[in-house]
Symmetry: C2
Subunit: 200 residues, 2 copies
DNA sequence: CCGGCTCGATTGACAATCCAGTCAACACTC
DNA sequence: GAGTGTTGACTGGATTGTCAATCGAGCCGG
């Protein structure tokens, strides 16, 4: 049964796909490139995945849910509202540090292909906003955050800021450096988000 | 000479391409789809553009430069710093209102393509950030904005917020409505950006 | 222990499909 | 007639997905 199957080849293919997609983009990557990168025969990809699209889908589904779990974790954590946002921001930035290729695929390929992939992806994508929105409502309820701002727009603003910074790293218009820098960037982003850029 | 050529067919093709790309995505759109949408023969696209890629490039080059002009305009305008950001934000949101398909192509296709196309648009893409960064420095210099925040990160945060909200409209995870709503959304985004979400 | 069998994993050549780009021929205008 | 604009059938290349054949591991019986 598929469930009890050793998972090595499947993961091997996914990891190879992440590399290949990051290097060439999804549309310029062939299934044969993935097979080659994985060191397996071409047809074996189809043994594990229905088609090329399902490879990309699986990358998204499995990795995005990890991100959702992180938001949930920090949302429940006994830390300040500011620390929650900072931690999530840092997690995403540091994910680029640890897995640049994966983040590239997520940012460049999946986020922008969502409209054309199966509908279920939009729902999963949207779950992140709902969780962040919930976190903002939490912050509003406990008095940390203003109650007169739409939580939904705020969630989009927050995640959008991070996403475009990550895009900047991917496109090399921003210089990515080391963990300390990412921590500082996360603090800056959250600083602007919570305290604002305006002079007091 | 190309310069003195009637521009109708070329613009016709670009407009058709915007529709087709928005509907199917660049990679799932064929040159023949564009030709059909434009009501011309297939080969004529190649009379006006080198290849499919150049169609997309031209859409970006010509429309992005219009956006850059708008930033420049508002940057020089005799209005407050807050009004400048609000106006730019509103311009982008309202562009979605006026030209949803074009904004879709810009948001979903261009950034993704930038890394992989021969004719890289990264420099042009980056110009928007430089202009916004300049505007933030202006605001810092005149005392409207904090001097202790990286203007580059702030520019990315600002534009990222807008970009993801627009993506939300495109993917229908956010409901786009009318001009009044866009004005309010612009004000909210800039409100959070300048005043912060934190309770004072 | 060994050999045979079964079944799942693996292989990669190949057929079918798709689509970008070409270009000779035609149409139109001055 | 010359020059520019337009046409769309066709070619060739690229790629996906298929599938028959092979391989390898594990099990069972002698």
């Amino acid at each position: 049964m598929a469930q009890s199957q050793p998972i090595d080849k499947r993961t091997l293919i996914l990891d190879a796909a992440i590399k290949v997609f990051a290097k060439n983009g999804y549309h310029r990557s062939r299934v044969s490139d993935i097979a080659e990168e994985a060191g397996i025969a071409y047809g074996l990809v189809y043994h594990y995945f229905k088609n090329k699209e399902e490879v990309l889908s699986s990358i998204f589904r499995e990795r995005w849910s990890a991100f959702l779990d992180v938001i949930r974790l920090y949302r429940e954590a006994p830390i300040t509202t500011r620390e929650k946002f900072t931690s999530i921001c840092f997690y995403l930035l540091n994910s680029y540090n640890l897995r640049p290729e994966l983040m590239e695929v997520l940012i460049l390929e999946i986020a922008r292909s969502s409209k054309f992939l199966q509908d279920s992806h939009i729902e999963e994508f949207n779950e992140a906003f709902r969780l962040l929105e919930g976190m903002i409502r939490d912050g509003q309820a406990c008095g940390d955050l203003r109650a007169d701002v739409d939580p939904s727009l705020s969630a989009y603003s927050f995640l959008g800021a991070i996403e475009l910074i990550l895009t900047g790293y991917v496109l090399n218009t921003l210089k990515a450096r080391d963990v300390k820098t990412y921590q500082k960037v996360a603090e800056t982003v959250v600083d602007v988000f919570i305290d604002g850029l305006g002079k007091r």
